[in-house]
């Protein structure tokens, strides 16, 4: 009895101690960002104060006020949301169709095509923007949010197609055969059987795609220059560092608000996300 208690206590410590360490490690930057964003500049630049603490007298909302009144932060946030949501939606529609076609419809070259997608996925997107610049100019989309909405899918589609292909392969083919006998055509099989069954995979791909689009800096920096069209990542970076003046408090505040949507989405879909990650691990 005592032995078993002993064992379980030890196991608890064995599991939670490393976890706690990891959580502390992961949360530290966020804590620091938060702290920086609510300190007065005076407290921020005073080297005699402990940088990891803040006294009540040194609290301020000034950085957030600056963010929302003196910059176009609200527009950047909106731009980021519009661009990320639209490009993710476009990418998901294409990926679901592509993944289904590539895993289930036996056509000449299906395997080659699948590999081609994988290779596209391996091309660093930081190289891809060079030719894409030409495309964007040619399409007359430079300096418009459309530039991002149409270019983000170039790296979101290969990635989510690949992820969804893995997921769809785990759905037994007989289920589709049954549906076909029951009277479904391909599109009905996709919408009534495959998509409902692939929800965890789709959620997982959507989350990844959204956060990739949301976190993008490069394309947004290259394709968009008017201040009011900037996305959050670029806006914060370019407008809150003026020459060698860093608006540290507002920078950190902007970054903090910028991480909220991603966190919210991940938490909302936590269960799906986890079961999507572990597909194939069980059974």
């Amino acid at each position: 009895m005592t032995d078993r208690l002993h064992g379980s206590a030890r196991r608890t410590i064995g599991i939670y101690a490393p976890l706690l360490l990891f959580v502390a490690f992961a949360l530290f930057p966020i804590y620091h960002m938060f702290l920086t964003s609510i300190k007065t500049d005076r407290a921020l630049y005073n080297l005699n104060l402990n940088p990891l603490l803040v006294s009540l007298g040194a609290l301020t909302a000034e950085h957030y006020r600056l963010l929302f009144t003196d910059t176009l932060f609200a527009s950047w946030l909106m731009n980021s949301l519009i661009v990320s949501l639209s490009s993710t939606a476009i990418a998901m529609v294409i990926s679901i169709l592509a993944a289904y076609g590539l895993t289930r419809i036996r056509f000449r070259g299906a395997a080659t095509f699948g590999i081609a997608i994988f290779i596209t996925y391996l091309v660093p997107y930081s190289l891809l923007f060079l030719p894409l610049t030409r495309v964007v100019t040619w399409l007359n989309l430079a300096d418009s949010l459309w530039a991002l909405i149409v270019t983000y899918p170039t790296f979101l589609v290969p990635f989510s197609t690949w992820l969804l292909m893995g997921y769809m392969k785990t759905i037994p083919e007989e289920i589709e055969k049954s549906a076909m006998i029951d009277g479904c055509n391909r599109l009905q099989i996709l919408t009534r059987i495959i998509i409902p069954l692939a929800v965890p995979g789709i959620v997982c791909a959507t989350l990844f795609a959204f956060s990739l689009a949301w976190n993008d800096l490069l394309y947004s920096l290259v394709f968009i220059s008017p201040t009011e069209k900037k996305t959050l990542t670029v806006g914060v970076l370019t407008e809150l560092i003026r020459g060698d003046v860093y608006f540290w408090g507002s920078l950190m505040g902007g970054a903090l608000i910028g991480s909220v949507p991603v966190v919210v989405f991940y938490v909302m879909f936590m269960d799906y996300y986890v079961s999507g990650m572990t597909v194939g691990a069980i059974k």
Partner: protein, 373 residues
């Protein structure tokens, strides 16, 4: 309720010919079993009938309709798969309703049919459950239920019992037979379990490498296998098959192997005259070889041979003996009371009236006493 006719059906996957010029007819209300070893093309045949695969050549008709090129949904068939293939995201009711609602049946009609099917299968209390909350046997019933609500012309079953444990399998076997009588419809049933084939089939189609070996009633395949493959495939333990030579001796015809020399029954001597000095394959089923004890023999001593026992397996109702016969092994049965152990040399009675002869040359066809007219 219809007759299914398959003519010269062929399916090639690249260089593999999975089904090769297969022809058979399942009469109206027949329980036709397709059987054969793994990879012989059973599932492919069923998929072709269902329209899930496109035939490379050949024709399929159901009732008086050509269905060779129709979409699966237009063929008036229903199929039950080995892994049941229930829709995991729908409850049992929705699973059974799906095919009907796709075909535009009214809610009331769907409900009526599902209640009826659930009644027959004893799954009324499961209708609101998701497949994952069902046992293997229950899933099996739901899969069958999903097929029967459709009232198709032909039912197709692909190894529906092979995922069940032995006891449940025996039970479901009997239930499916009863269901067939009750529904009075044509069934094509794929299995690799010859006991299922023997007990359920009105007729059996035996395949090997995509080629039909024999079609017939179960007992026909058992008593008159057309070649050594059928002989060895149907029956457990399988028929003993040993190379032999036919010899004439004192006006008798003898079957001679490295382990024994035995006379062919008198009434066939005339007929087998033509085989004199020929190499053949001699076949005899284990139940026609009986291990006995010295002095026990009340039979024609001419059909007794002494052979060494290699292995003794007690099965309760009888003992199964593995005997050494030259380089070959023979399986024989014996009374469980027989005192015998490995290494003994015992007299073995051959029931030569039940012997079979096959050509030595591939495909080792049956040699009948009465030559084919």
């Amino acid at each position: 309720m219809a007759k299914l006719v398959v003519e010269n059906l062929t399916k090639r996957f690249g260089s593999v010919t999975a089904v090769d010029r297969l022809s058979f007819t399942a009469e109206d209300r027949e329980f036709l079993v397709l059987i054969g070893p793994s990879g012989c093309g059973k599932s492919t045949t069923l998929n072709l009938i269902a329209g899930l695969e496109e035939a490379s050549a050949g024709r399929i008709s159901i009732g008086d309709r050509q269905v060779t090129h129709l979409h699966p949904k237009d063929r008036d068939i229903a199929m039950v798969f080995q892994n049941y293939a229930l829709y995991p995201h729908m409850d049992v009711y929705a699973n059974m309703a799906f095919g009907l609602s796709m075909r535009g049946y009214s809610k009331a009609e769907i409900g009526r049919r599902i209640q009826e099917a659930a009644e027959i299968l004893g799954i009324k209390n499961l209708l609101q459950r998701k497949p994952r909350a069902l046992s293997g046997g229950q899933r099996q019933r739901v899969a069958v239920g999903r097929a029967i609500v459709r009232k198709p012309a032909v039912f197709l079953f692909d190894e529906p019992l092979s995922n069940l444990d032995a006891k449940l399998r025996v039970q479901m076997r009997a239930e499916l037979s009863k269901l067939h009588q009750r529904l009075n419809t044509t069934i094509v049933y794929v299995t690799h379990d010859q006991i299922e084939a023997m007990t359920m089939a009105t007729r059996i189609v035996l395949l090997k490498d995509g080629i039909c070996q024999q079609i017939g009633r179960p007992l026909e395949l058992y008593t008159r296998p057309v070649n050594t493959f059928t002989a060895g495939f149907i029956g457990t333990p399988p028929m003993n098959l040993v190379p032999a030579r036919i010899q004439a001796e004192n006006g008798k015809m003898m079957v001679a192997t490295d382990g024994f020399r035995l006379p062919i029954p008198a009434r066939w001597r005339q007929a087998y005259e033509r085989l004199k000095s020929k190499e053949v394959i001699f076949g005899i089923r284990p139940e026609h070889l009986r291990g006995t004890r010295e002095g026990d023999i009340a039979v024609d001593a001419a059909t007794v041979t002494r052979l060494e026992v290699d292995l003794v397996e007690m099965l309760g109702s009888h003992v199964q003996l593995t005997l050494t016969c030259g380089p070959e092994r023979l399986i024989a049965l014996a009374d469980p009371a027989l005192p015998v152990k490995a290494g003994d040399r015992i007299p073995v009675v051959f029931n030569m009236d039940s012997m079979h002869l096959f050509e030595k040359r591939e495909p080792q066809r049956r040699i009948d006493a009465a030559p084919a007219a």
